[in-house]
Amino acid sequence: MRTIPFRQALREAMEEEMRRDSRVFLMGEEVAQYNGAYKVSQGMLDEFGPKRVLDTPIAELGFAAIGVGAAANGTRPIIEFMTWNFAVLALDQILNHAAKMLSMSGGHFSCPIVFRGPNGSAGQLGAQHSQAFESWFANIPGIKVISVSNPYDAKGLLKAAIRDEDPVVFMESEVMYGDVGEVPEEEYILPIGKADVKREGTDVTIVSFNKMMKVALGAAEELAKEGISAEVIDLRTIRPLDWQTIVTSVRKTNRLVIVEEQWPFSSISSEISYRIQKEAFDYLDAPIRRICSADANMHYAPNLVAAFLPDISKTVKLVKDVMYQIK
């Protein structure tokens, strides 16, 4: 199978959907003439023209609002945020308008819109450019939240998001745009709300998503060297959460570790932990454990960045802890 970079997978998803449906357009900062701050939309202005690939002023609230209004009136916008850190300026439009359009209007107006962009940390970018927002948006009824870890899922799920009739928050990562992965030439769509077992195992289940999947898979590799068989699940969709796949795995492994870049309080791991203790209480041989980002703002110094984030060694250590291998 051919291999392509993450950013190309995202671009192909948008291009294919824009060729298929003239109601789909892309709007955001630097998406057109500049070819995208991270080159995700490279070449799209040339193919689709300025009517369908629109540069906006730096006005996240404003262009999100225009997207939401346009979605309620017969179009299917893709709104790119240069990062989700900036999208908090548009939170009112996502939370109070997009997510509530259908219910507040008693079913009169739907809002088929995709808000997408990179999420989480990307090196020494300081406190305001390093935040992971899945748990914030996953809290909101009325929207769906997707957070992808590889080019194949990125393409299949972005196509599904664009075709979805409900508002979708779609999260990528600056540090993965160059990652290369297998993506078939032929068209495919992946279902929203389905997790993926990326590695089968028998001793412990590790659940993760987005770029922390690299930590989860890296830890599984290390653990294998020591004879510990870890099953690794990529959530892919955060809301709705495919907890059944986790339960199935935990019934087999009896142990669960969650690795995520969220802050710990009311995180995705908090929700998973509740669900698994309820649905698989009798199958657990150890407490559910997790590694989140530090309960702090991210600092600049490289050692403090490393201390802030989950990593392979912390994950390996935690897995050994739930295996009762650390005295």
Binding site: R23, F25, K51, L54, T56, P57, A59, L61, G62, F63, A64, A65, I66, G67, V68, G69, A70, A71, A72, N73, G74, T75, D92, Q93, N96, H97, L102, S103, M104, S105, G106, G107, H108, F109, S110, P112, P141, G142, K144, D164, E165, D166, G193, P240, K278
Partner: protein
Amino acid sequence: MQTPFGKETYLYWYELMLLLRRFEEKAGQLYGMQKIRGFCHLYIGQEAVAAGMMTAIRDDDNIITAYRDHGLAIAKGITPNECMAELYGKATGCTKGKGGSMHFFSKEKRFFGGHGIVGGQIGLGAGIAFADQYLDNDRVTIAMFGDGAARQGLLHESFNMAMLWNLPVVFICENNHYAMGTSVSRTSKVLDIYRLADAYDMPADSVDGMSCEEVHKAIDRAVRRAREKGGPTFLEIKTYRYRGHSMSDPAKYRTKEELEEYKEKDPINQALATIMQNNWATEADIEAINARVKQQVDESVKFAEDSPYPSDDELLKDIYVDQDYPFITD
């Protein structure tokens, strides 16, 4: 009074404004009786804005507004029955008992709500207009907001992009002089709100909102401009709400004299005076209109009273279009 507007227009304005007023007077009473709950913001005094607008736009043009939405919704064609039932929270309401007073909507009437976050609908209105331009329709969107919302940042972002992309939208600030209890002069050095458009080179005007004629003329010009691809207009329509901000507001921040000054310019009385001066109706004709309006309002109350509440299983409906969404239920 000489007027270029004929008998038919004036009788339409009079009956529509009277319907809005009587409907809301009744809603106010019913609120006092706790038949209607939640927040309830009455439009009484501002009716000429809705009436003058209706004769200046097409049926398929779009309106979006804030939470003081009863008058505009009825004017745009949502029936008093559906509106009163919505105020009661009944299943037969225009949003099935899900929106309430602040969130009236109708896709068929192209009434895009009914929004409760001050100023949020300014950008939505630009977006609705964006979609019509994108889809090559010649509809125009009227995006309404109050003088309070004129101080929100989204106004500036929306004005800027609406001009940049030449969107077919008419922004209307219904300046009723008070953002809840705070007067315009206490929120900005710029008291002429229409001048905010200057920063974006947007045509703008100040309009007497107690006169249907003035409202009609200003909106007619703006809508023509938008439909002929001339881009947005900003109208500041000066009006007055006779009641408080919401039902719990005794309006102690303004004087009785100020209220009386506006009541003397009451738009319904103005319209009636013009009708009588031109001999467009007899006393008996007016009595007949008044009776018809009263009957419509009474019927809407009966309709709302007799309607059922939404069934409990509506709780998880209309949250997603997706019919199979796996809600968390425990």
